[in-house]
């Protein structure tokens, strides 16, 4: 019998009789030409206690637990208080569908309204949506907003934007008739302002996209003069945030001129989980309100005069507007947004400030420690948040060697930037311990030395 089906044989007979059909097979009859020809090849059925055994065995085949890890690059290991899971995993939240029936979904709707508010408060934007799939698709959707707003079909994107975000942007643009031009990175690891200025002169770009802190960890704002040129060129400045904890320390993208802010909120309590589910956000100035994709929760009144929450401005969405919708998104990442909302509620301004501060502190400890190793140096000399680009010789080789010492040293930059194949992107968060850094440094001493000798 199918798993989790409550039917007894007698009930099946009674129900078939009531329907007036002789058998389950008859109920589902299809013409023989399309019926399956061979038995299905599926993992074997097993009782629940064996499923647990099997899945634990699979989990144990992953082996990264005991490593000191400096991985980041768009997915961050932060402390998530256990109170989050205790609340978010409550069945009412977990097993609800999208809150179409607002009267019995007030709790979830209020939580999403709070999420939208948190994102606005953190980014300095005026509105935010109920979430999109992740940071990369947030960039794609945010770019489409700019394209629709300007009627222009070109995008100008900094090469310091997370290469995977850029790749997804390319994928999305593969369906539209949109061109993407990239801006070079300067020697200080920041987007080259002069190139931007030159590029936008022709007023042909819908948006200019910067990430700050950028993929190299460097704080990469638009400077005031450039901001003025961008604005006068009619280009929409889009800011990407991939390390949301940075918002606890750095000024908001609104303050340096972003009109659309897109990003990833995984850092707010969402598990790493080998890449997902995470949660993208899109926030913007009020003028883009009717171009924003996906769900929006609004506050209104009910017929008893009480404040009440509901999905609103649905005329933007696919189920109403079909091919004319602002996006095709339907299911979003509500539950991850809930997790992030609970995280922010628990942390508060005080906690978020401290977490951000500890990320600053530990990453500087990391920078100091690794630079003390002969043959190792920091590639960029610019203010950074919690990630650094470390020149080691051959990034891929050094990482492989570090792994033998029980250290996941970071991400090989050569994977995305051939010109930085000598470098590793290393991340430190509040969970990076002094012991981790010592282990890394000791291993680097061995490894970089070994590399040099060869």
């Amino acid at each position: 019998m199918g798993a989790y089906t409550p039917h007894t044989p007698q009930e099946i007979s009674q129900m078939l009789e009531r329907i007036g059909v002789g058998s389950l097979e008859e109920l589902l009859a299809v013409s023989p030409d399309i019926a399956p020809k061979a038995p299905l090849d599926v993992v074997p059925a097993m009782p629940e206690y064996q499923i647990e055994r099997r899945m634990k065995a699979l989990a144990a085949r992953n082996g990264a637990d005991d490593y000191a890890s400096f991985l980041g690059a768009g997915a961050y290991r932060h402390y998530a208080p256990p109170a989050i899971a205790a609340l978010a995993m409550r069945g009412e939240f977990l097993t609800a569908y999208t809150p179409y029936q607002a009267e019995v979904s007030q709790g979830y709707l209020q939580a999403i309204y709070e999420w939208q508010s948190y994102i606005c408060l953190l980014t300095g934007m005026e509105i935010a949506n109920a979430s999109v799939y992740d940071g990369a698709t947030a960039l794609a959707e945010g770019s489409i907003m700019a394209i629709n707003a300007t009627g222009r079909k070109r995008l100008l994107v900094s090469r310091a934007v997370d290469p995977r975000y850029r790749a997804v942007l390319h994928t999305y643009c593969g369906g539209l008739d949109v061109e993407i031009d990239e801006i070079a990175v300067g020697a200080d690891g920041r987007t080259d302002g002069a190139s931007v200025r030159a590029a936008i002169e022709a007023k042909s770009y819908a948006a200019v996209v910067l990430q700050s802190p950028n993929f190299f960890g460097v704080i990469d704002e638009i400077d005031p003069q450039l901001r003025a040129s961008i604005e006068s060129s009619g280009t929409v400045p889009i800011a990407v945030i991939s390390e949301a904890i940075s918002l606890g320390a750095l000024r908001s993208p609104a303050q340096w001129g972003a009109q659309i802010v897109v990003g990833e909120a995984q850092s707010f309590g969402v598990a790493l989980a080998y890449g997902g589910p995470y949660v993208g956000f899109i926030a913007s100035t009020a003028e883009h309100m009717r171009r924003i994709p996906g769900r929006l929760v609004g506050r209104s009144l009910d017929n008893r005069g009480q404040e009440a929450y509901t999905l609103t401005l649905q005329a933007r969405e696919q189920h109403i507007r079909r091919e004319k919708a602002t996006s095709n998104i339907c299911t979003n990442q509500a539950h991850c947004a809930l997790i992030a909302t609970i995280y922010l509620a628990l942390m508060g301004a005080s906690g978020l400030r401290d977490v951000a501060g500890l990320n600053l502190e530990r990453s500087r400890e990391l920078a100091t420690a690794v630079s003390s190793v002969p043959g190792v140096s920091l590639r960029f000399d610019a203010p950074f948040f919690n990630e650094i680009v470390v020149r080691v010789g051959n990034g891929a080789e050094v990482l492989a060697a570090l792994q033998k010492h029980g250290v996941l040293g970071g991400v090989d930059l050569g994977r995305f930037y051939p010109e930085y194949a000598d470098s590793i992107l290393m991340t430190a968060t509040e969970l990076t311990s002094t012991g981790d850094i010592a282990k890394l440094t000791a291993a680097l001493r061995e490894v970089v030395h070994v590399a040099a000798v060869r």
């Binding site: 199918g2 989790y4 409550p6 329907i19 399309i34 299905l40 599926v42 993992v43 059925a45 499923i51 099997r54 699979l58 989990a59 208080p81 995993m89 409550r90 009412e92 977990l94 097993t95 609800a96 569908y97 999208t98 179409y100 009267e103 019995v104 979904s105 007030q106 709790g107 979830y108 209020q110 309204y113 709070e114 508010s117 935010a128 799939y133 995977r164 975000y165 369906g175 539209l176 606890g248 320390a249 000024r251 598990a271 080998y274 890449g275 997902g276 949660v279 009144l301 009910d302 017929n303 509901t310 091919e323 539950h335 991850c336 628990l346 508060g348 906690g351 400030r353 500890l358 600053l360």
Partner: protein, 501 residues
């Protein structure tokens, strides 16, 4: 379901509670940010409330109690397959070995997670008759977009750049045309015939060398099996087009008929429907994208590659003894659809559900889903008109059109009256072609008693509507809020809290 105590007012917004400095010590106090960065880069204000953990726990516990989920009652929301979400799946997804794994972990330290993806991918391919699945897309709509990008690239690769049209039946879900549009295709809508099926003739009328893709679902959103599917597929293929299967209704077909055998070239699954992944109040979802052999090269990156590849079959030998790697080097790929590889935690859940079923179990799941739907349909047809009075698959539509004429009570009113009686409402006003539509999908995890009691509740509503329509039109009255002023919500958008209040 019901309060132990009586304070039914909404908890204040989290921003209206707390006091500066009132926060739990999750981490130690940090040094001032200005010790590390120039002042001009730093934030001068961070207007988030500081609440105690106790107050946060109360806030979200209270919010949860103002939210209806499957765990509280029957949830017959058509097209959404709101079946039971087994807790073992959540427990497996939260195993630290899975949940703490960073996506950039080297392949040799991620073999368990890669095995999960491999076993899921291979199983799905067999169940649905596809050559391969990509676990990259995040939800159904995301997979639709990916599929259309695959189609576009496939045609481009073949030099068929004039294929600009996507055919979509009028009963299709809104994401289908929206995805087509996002991919730059022109959408051609096809009317359904009197039997609620896509008509082969209508399709043939619009087919041509500009046809790119025909998007269908089977059973369709009326719950009816498209019995001419093989002919339609043949016709589309004849003009060189591709057939796309919207898998939102896959709960009706497992072990019974495979999209691949029906002639589909591409398909998505909503594993957050069919494979018991909790919908979480709107997501996250998980939208595997399946393709036939000629389209495999175009799938999103990365793909899990097995060494050696699993020719042995899963039924006896799952992934044991094999090695895996993430393959990014796929020159014809459309590229990645998202930051990382997959909504991996959901892949764990889906695989766990597959292990609970095996092949035989999946077949039974679909059979019983269809059994429940027909049993409910027969019961409901005693007091509501069912525009397509024949055997349905996993769901069916009823219409309140007659009732509305008679009493003024509309589908929406029935929906609200159900809320008052402790049920989630069916999907209403979709598909668009049925007036005053109520679309009901009971799923296979509900018992006969639950269906019986629900039928009686609905009967009572219809009878009350005839006797006292006002009382139904006033519903809901027993919920924490009544009907909401949607116009006000849209006209005076209040989408966020502001300091002023």
């Amino acid at each position: 379901m019901s309060q132990p105590s009586a304070n039914s007012s909404a908890p204040a917004l989290i921003f209206e509670t707390g006091a500066p400095g009132r926060a739990t010590e999750y981490v130690e106090r940090s040094r001032p940010h200005a010790d590390f960065l120039p002042q001009e880069l730093l934030r001068t204000e961070l207007p988030l409330p500081d609440n105690s953990e106790l107050d946060v726990v109360r806030h979200f516990t209270q919010l949860s109690q103002r939210t209806f989920g499957i765990d509280l009652g029957f949830y017959p929301l058509g097209s959404c397959t709101m079946k039971y979400n087994p807790r073992v799946n959540d427990a497996m997804a939260s195993l630290p070995g899975f949940s703490d794994l960073h996506p950039y972990t080297p392949d040799d330290l991620a073999q368990g997670s890669l095995a999960v993806m491999y076993e899921l991918e291979r199983s799905l391919s067999s169940v649905f008759g596809m050559a391969a699945f990509s676990l990259n897309p995040s939800a159904g709509a995301h997979a639709e977009l990916a599929a259309l990008l695959v189609a576009k690239k496939y045609f481009k690769d073949r030099g068929e750049i004039k294929r600009t049209k996507v055919i979509v039946p009028d009963t299709a879900h809104g994401t289908n045309p929206a995805s087509a549009a996002m991919c730059g295709f022109k959408v051609i809508s096809i009317p359904s015939d009197a039997r609620g099926r896509v008509s082969l003739e209508e399709i043939e009328k619009v087919l041509g060398d500009d046809t790119a893709v025909c998007m269908m679902t089977n059973p369709n959103t009326l719950g009816l099996f498209e019995d001419h599917i093989a002919e339609i597929a043949a016709a589309v293929h004849r003009v060189g087009g591709l057939m796309y299967y919207d898998g939102a209704n896959a709960n009706a077909i497992m072990g019974n008929v495979r999209p691949g055998d029906m002639g589909f070239d591409l398909m998505h699954l909503n594993t957050h429907k069919t494979f018991t992944i909790p919908h979480g109040g709107g997501g996250a979802g998980h939208g595997p994208l399946g393709v036939a052999a000629h389209l495999v090269d175009f799938l999103p990156t990365p793909v899990v590659r097995a060494i050696p590849d699993g020719k042995t079959g899963l039924r006896r030998a799952p992934s044991d003894g094999m090695r895996f790697e993430l393959d990014f080097n796929r020159p014809k790929s459309i590229g990645p659809m998202r930051s990382f590889w997959s909504n991996f935690a959901h892949a764990v859940r889906a695989l766990s559900y597959l292990y609970a079923n095996g092949a035989e179990g999946l077949k039974s799941v679909s059979q019983l889903a269809v059994l429940n739907a027909n049993y409910l349909r027969v019961g409901v047809s005693e007091f509501l008109s069912t525009p397509y009075p024949e055997i349905c698959r996993h769901e069916f539509v009823a219409s309140a059109q007659d009732l509305k004429k008679e009493t003024g009570v509309r589908a929406l009113d029935i929906a609200k009256a159900l809320l008052d009686r402790g049920y989630m409402a069916p999907t209403v006003y979709f598909p668009l072609i049925v007036p005053e539509c109520l679309m009901m999908e009971p799923t296979e995890t509900e018992s006969k008693e639950t269906l019986d009691i629900f039928i009686e509740a609905l009967r009572e509503i219809i009878e009350t509507a005839k006797r006292d329509p006002q009382s139904i039109m006033a519903a809901p009255v027993r919920t924490v809020v009544g009907r909401i002023d949607e116009t006000r919500a849209a006209r005076q958008p209040d989408l966020r809290w502001r300091q002023s209040g």
